[in-house]
């Protein structure tokens, strides 16, 4: 007995003519069409970076920007989301809210342990020992800064530097990251969702 039939194609089981959206999903790997990655319809996330450990925070943000948390991830296409990072450097924001809650008799001394908490955190001695290097291209043009000095100068650069190292090369994905010093950002129209960081040890322990 010979059964020279080819393996049954899907069209044998469906009534002809086939509906227009039919495709063989078990033999063709899904690839995004243009309407699956329109920039104006991507999700926007917002993260508060105060008092979070730098690397762990950067890792989850990079995953979301790259799109690696999505089932529709495609390496050649930008499927990721936009992420807004803000954090407060202002030492007085916490004081103001506490005065409002507890009355004006609240002294700054009661708050001294909290005042420096309003920054991106780094464990160990990284504040004084982690170095940020850049080179101007000319001989002897290496510039070195510590974490603390860079945080005084341009605090956004710390987060951007960390995340840039975790993303693929090129500016396209990196431009989806927006970092702002202070609690305000100009992207209120995007109605961003709070990004929950699920790393087990993201909050700096005190």
């Amino acid at each position: 007995m010979i059964f020279p039939f080819p393996s049954p194609s899907p069209s044998l089981f469906l009534p002809l003519p086939l509906p227009p959206s039919f495709s063989d999903i078990w033999n063709n790997t899904w690839y995004p069409k243009a309407k699956d990655h329109i920039n104006t319809e991507k999700t926007w996330y917002v993260v508060d970076a105060t008092d979070k450990i730098l690397g762990r925070l950067a890792s989850t943000i990079a995953v979301h920007i790259h799109g690696k948390n999505l089932a529709t991830y495609t390496p050649t296409i930008d499927m990721g989301a936009f992420v807004i990072v803000f954090y407060c450097m202002n030492k007085f924001s916490l004081l103001e809210t506490c005065s409002y809650w507890y009355g004006s008799g609240f002294f700054l001394s009661n708050l001294t342990q909290y005042v420096n908490a309003e920054k991106v955190a780094a464990s160990g001695k990284k504040r004084t020992q982690k170095l940020y290097r850049r080179h101007s291209g000319r001989p002897g043009g290496m510039k070195v800064e510590t974490f603390n000095q860079l945080q005084q100068r341009i605090p956004e650069r710390i987060i951007e530097h960390a995340i840039r190292g975790m993303l693929p090369k090129g500016r396209a994905l990196f431009n989806h990251l927006k970092v702002y010093k202070g609690p305000d950002h100009p992207h209120n129209a995007q109605k961003s969702i709070e990004l929950l960081i699920r790393d087990k040890r993201v909050q700096k322990q005190r």
């Binding site: 078990w26 899904w30 999505l70 529709t72």
Partner: protein
């Protein structure tokens, strides 16, 4: 020796193979010497990438499955899913799992819960 002109022999041969390069960009579809070189490169790439294609797609499926599975819980991952699949002797391959992950994610969650028990 009698004199022989080569005539149209070389031209016929080159015209035949230049059809393959008709969609190449710029000089790569117009100049005969460049055409010969580019055709060789194209066919070499095709030969090498037929094997790469199998690897690349498997990587893509694995990444997509991993992305969805890690959303389940903190300590669940692609590696554990595959381990559970093999323990239960379930023959679903990564291609099918990835397509399920995109088209019907709850189905994948049901499968992973079943095999976790």
């Amino acid at each position: 020796m009698t004199r022989i002109k080569r005539g149209y022999i070389a031209r016929r041969r080159r015209k035949k193979i230049s059809l393959f390069a008709s969609s190449f960009r710029g000089a790569h579809s117009r100049l005969t010497r460049t055409i010969t070189q580019q055709i060789i490169r194209a066919l070499v790439s095709a030969h090498r990438d037929r094997d790469r294609k199998k690897r690349d797609f498997r990587r893509l499926w694995i990444t997509r499955i991993n992305a969805v599975i890690r959303g389940v819980g903190v300590s669940y991952s692609y590696s554990r899913l595959i381990h559970n699949l093999y323990k239960k002797q379930l023959l679903l391959n990564r291609k099918i799992l990835a397509q399920i992950a995109i088209s019907n994610r709850n189905c994948l969650y049901m499968i992973s819960n079943e095999i976790r028990k």
